[in-house]
Symmetry: C2
Subunit: 452 residues, 2 copies
Amino acid sequence: MSSPSPRTPKPLLLRGARIVTMDAQRRILEGDVLVQGGLIQAVGPSARRPVGPSVLDCRGLVVLPGLIQAHIHLCQTLFRGLADDLPLEAWLERRIWPLEAAHTPESVYWSAMLGAAELLLGGTTAILDMETVRHTASAFEALEEIGLRATAGKCLMDAAPAVSPAALREPTDRALQESADLCERWHGAAGGRLRYCFAPRFAPSCSGPLLRAVSDLAERAGAVVHTHAAETPLELEMVKRATGHDEIAYLDSVGIAGPRAALAHCVWVSPEGVQRLAQQATNIVHCPSSNLKLGSGIAPVPEMLAAGCRVAIGADGAPCNNRLDAFAEMRLAALIQKPRLGPDALPAIEALELATLGGARALGLEREIGSIEVGKLADVIVLDLDGPHAQPAEADLVSRIVYSAQPADVRHVIVEGRVVVRDGVLRTAQLEEIRRAANAQARALIASARLR
Amino acid sequence: MSSPSPRTPKPLLLRGARIVTMDAQRRILEGDVLVQGGLIQAVGPSARRPVGPSVLDCRGLVVLPGLIQAHIHLCQTLFRGLADDLPLEAWLERRIWPLEAAHTPESVYWSAMLGAAELLLGGTTAILDMETVRHTASAFEALEEIGLRATAGKCLMDAAPAVSPAALREPTDRALQESADLCERWHGAAGGRLRYCFAPRFAPSCSGPLLRAVSDLAERAGAVVHTHAAETPLELEMVKRATGHDEIAYLDSVGIAGPRAALAHCVWVSPEGVQRLAQQATNIVHCPSSNLKLGSGIAPVPEMLAAGCRVAIGADGAPCNNRLDAFAEMRLAALIQKPRLGPDALPAIEALELATLGGARALGLEREIGSIEVGKLADVIVLDLDGPHAQPAEADLVSRIVYSAQPADVRHVIVEGRVVVRDGVLRTAQLEEIRRAANAQARALIASARLR
């Protein structure tokens, strides 16, 4: 295990940028961002300059809050491209379950490293991550090492074989005990950069007692509960048959609702369900690429926002995307609503809100991250939008970020004041080592999982 | 005017790649590609090596036919980000018409240079391009200079003011005469790399006599007719009201049908219309990003392919996308069909066919480009898929290209044997000069167009 990432002792000055603050007024400022002790100390033209800060010359560049993806499965990164063009049920049964069951501590570690490297290089600084049922500590070790901000949790499955494969199903008590132990060890680790979440896979694969216990444990620990919900009509039917309830109402009845809950997908939610989610202040995590690729549908995100719901965004796992690219998700979140609701639906600024402020809320960190404001943690990214694909510079800056920018435009990435990507190069791990180890682990998993 | 791009006199050897041939058997070979006189002379493990070829070391890289986008408006590249989140009619009337009317020869030239630079750097080697009504020669000059393969045409509009703004409308005879003159000058220029197309904007903005004359001129010149069709229900209604016909049937009645015609969009085509397009062997150009961003809808591409239609792909103009990225279009073409038809709809290989073989057919160049086969023109691209976002390498190669790859993965780009991008750097023009000039021209256009 590596040492926890230290807060940068030396101040850091991002000099001369255009700063998309995402503050309450959505101000775009010209000037500097001063970082000290991992915190943003000053923003704007008159940033006080301490003696001898480390300086990042950001003239001609754009500074943005680090992007946040609130639904990721790092443990699936090694499965990318191994499960294309399949419906959700076959995708799970024929590919994802056997591959997750084959995971070892080493494969979980390198799967997390591979995914986290892609995320950081592409400007994502924080994630909400659902791991598999085993070896979650290995994912945390990778996250500690590579410097991504992450709230991650062991996946929980204790229900009937039809929806919880034998190779992954656990007794309720053991699943809960291991979760509690992981929470004890990792919630608040790495100086607070790592946090634990309780992560029941989805309602059909979990017993009622497990879900209720999870809700209590999360409440006591001050941790997020992260699960999937309302992804397909089949899932809704299963929950209805088993519990007599609509899935969102059922989750509420077991205590999984409100600001501490983050529900991935929510594609199939009725207008009443949307109202309920808004009243509860439950976090919805929209995954547009995944919902298209698995054929799940299009979540009613503009209706959710109009109702006052809290909405974040995420790439989901690599095999149902196949990118972990926050720019692709923002752009697609805007585009897919327009045939249904008109071209003015979900404009660029709202897509950027999903990936910043919305993500911060889903992680329960809206006071710490999501915007560039004095006192917040210095999770910021620096974009170079000089490429031909982002010209002319006359255009609206938010439009250029949401509709034109791409991961390769990310020049620097800073997490809590630490420069983890500089000039497009990952500084916290060796990319070539990750590539080699990840490929070796992928080969071993494929052999061991005996895919059909 | 610059000199025509010469065929490379010196042979070029792409050594040691994985080669996605897109030949009839869709073979993926390991080996070399030998290029002589702009043509592919050998492909595969035993490529004969001439004395002293220029060698591109492609070990660990992937060689692919150059991507083809069969619906682009280079003249709109300067309008990127200036017309977001508006419905098609307001998008045209408030932004695109006034900006196109404000174009000068210089602004058309730099708009084309900016778009072509983005296209080449992103692996697109050939386009079908609709310019505006004036200054089309300037676009050809840019294309000649920068080395992209292009079939381009002056936009034609001679109909009633409601659908042809006064600032762009021309008398029928003048429009036709200028088209014929441009065709005479540019069709087959730059050693055949540049070709002319006749480009009526869309049926409502053109008179019947103009459309019939265009069809005759194109037939005589052996040129493509490129227009928009069935993009919105409103357009269909306008054609129905004016002509009494369904739009596809109307275009057929004026001679715009069959292998020489390329119809962009075709979102709103009935099953009978799809059958008709298949029987005619008319080229359909699918523009998934544009159809989403303008709220137009989702074209029934899997149904078209099942019916035997010829289908290509394109980014459309920068203001309705806002990328000119063939990778984004391929991925989206696959993804958007899946909620409607299931996750196995339009698998990765079909998306790649749209951007290679389908594009070649739409340009009338299926014997010359679209696959890596001996005797075809050497339009090829070289990808570096070693980035974390395209791992593991165990995955299906076509999946990695369609679902994971991005423009920044393009290492080398070769058009007719000429290396126009090497190690990610454009060699035929100065990017910094393009950026500066394009921004200056954009500022001038915005001032002159008096946008509201």
